[in-house]
Symmetry: C2
């Protein structure tokens, strides 16, 4: 799924509530409608949208009643900062088939004592994962703070080395991502001749360089220190 | 900001485009309108919504023209999986005042050579941060996959140890989070007497225990192994 598509879906409060409810347990339409205090018609329309997007799926129980559950395992990350707006959506595989076949490998049902021990062990591991998740999240937060601070300093430094405003903009663009001249023209809305002449000047002073990838010329900031001319 | 509020904001494609544009540079209303091909009236209404939420701020240039830029530094993480729907929003401090005062401490303007070296050094560090970010993101992905797999196994294990469906639901709820009896009643929509008697049975078999926090009794899965009765 496209991250933008997921943001469109999550932009509605009732859809968020439905997802939250289904993440706690599979539900019938009537249950969802009752829990949310929203008419079944509206719930059904949200459910079909979620189902089309592949976020939930529908099954039928013994009494032929339809129930819904989360079909997906994914992680969306959005960063908004003065120098970056990024969205990333990761799909996380969880292969139930594979897991079930490995469970079958065990020799028959476990004794009650074994089951108890296993449950407590597994719940301990889940607790550890939660702590680890919290640690990683803190590290990401720290990283984004450092990134913003570095970008701030880089902008000051660009102002010192750039000879005109086009150079400033070019260096700032390339700092975020390497780019072809065409992309730079488009993003900065400048004529190709202006982009090219400024890139040449910057290259001569060692502030940009290019590489060829997939037969295309990409401009970027050099990786190692260079001699100043 | 509430993560739900941010999701409401990001649920609109034009607002996402505005944020993306402002993250690349501060812009006037006319620029935003031209870039997005959306009338200025609609742009202004999106901008006031974003400004009210504290996501962007507005300044005035020398010609008294208003321009907008991102005012915030934050990270939103949403996980949707069969056993969890979590949203977390982190606000990341970036204290420009502090940074600027520390920049002043340096002795006067740097020479051109020093500036060039500094720029290349800073851009190298930005590159490193991007790689580190990618690594952390992969680790989070791996973690969520493990979490889902463990929850799958835990559910099987709960089915073996639980004596009825209420015990199943109680253990599943407590696996996700410790909770008071009141929260469990509310989430599972069961009568307090049913919740209490099942908790007592589970506690006797060593599958749940309680702690007192802020004068409230919280039920949870025990941390260490327990003797089976």
């Amino acid at each position: 799924m496209d991250p933008a598509k997921l943001l469109d879906i999550l932009g509605n409060e009732n859809r968020r509530k439905i997802i939250q409810l289904l993440a706690s347990r599979p539900c019938y339409v009537s249950e969802i409608s009752g829990r949310l205090g929203v008419g079944p018609k509206a719930i059904i329309s949200h459910l079909s949208l979620l189902e089309e997007a592949g976020l939930i799926e529908c099954s039928v129980d013994e009494q032929r009643r339809k129930y819904f559950n989360i079909a997906n395992n994914m992680r969306l990350e959005v960063s908004v900062s003065p120098y970056a707006y990024t969205m990333a959506l990761q799909n996380i595989n969880f292969d139930r088939e594979k897991r079930e076949s490995s469970a079958v490998e065990k020799n028959g049902p476990a004794s009650r004592d074994e089951s108890s021990g296993l449950f407590l062990e597994l719940s301990g591991r889940i607790r550890e994962l939660k702590i680890r998740h919290e640690e990683l999240t803190q590290m990401q937060k720290q990283l984004q703070a450092e990134y913003t601070e570095l970008m701030d300093r880089c902008l000051d430094s660009i102002e010192e080395i750039a000879r005109n405003s086009v150079e400033c903009e070019l260096l700032f663009e390339l700092l975020k991502n390497e780019a072809t001249a065409a992309v730079l023209c488009y993003n900065l809305r400048l004529h190709p001749s202006i982009i090219t002449s400024n890139l040449m000047d910057l290259a001569e002073r060692g502030f940009v360089e290019y590489t060829i990838k997939n037969n295309q010329q990409y401009w970027k900031i050099p990786e190692a220190g260079v001699e100043n001319k």
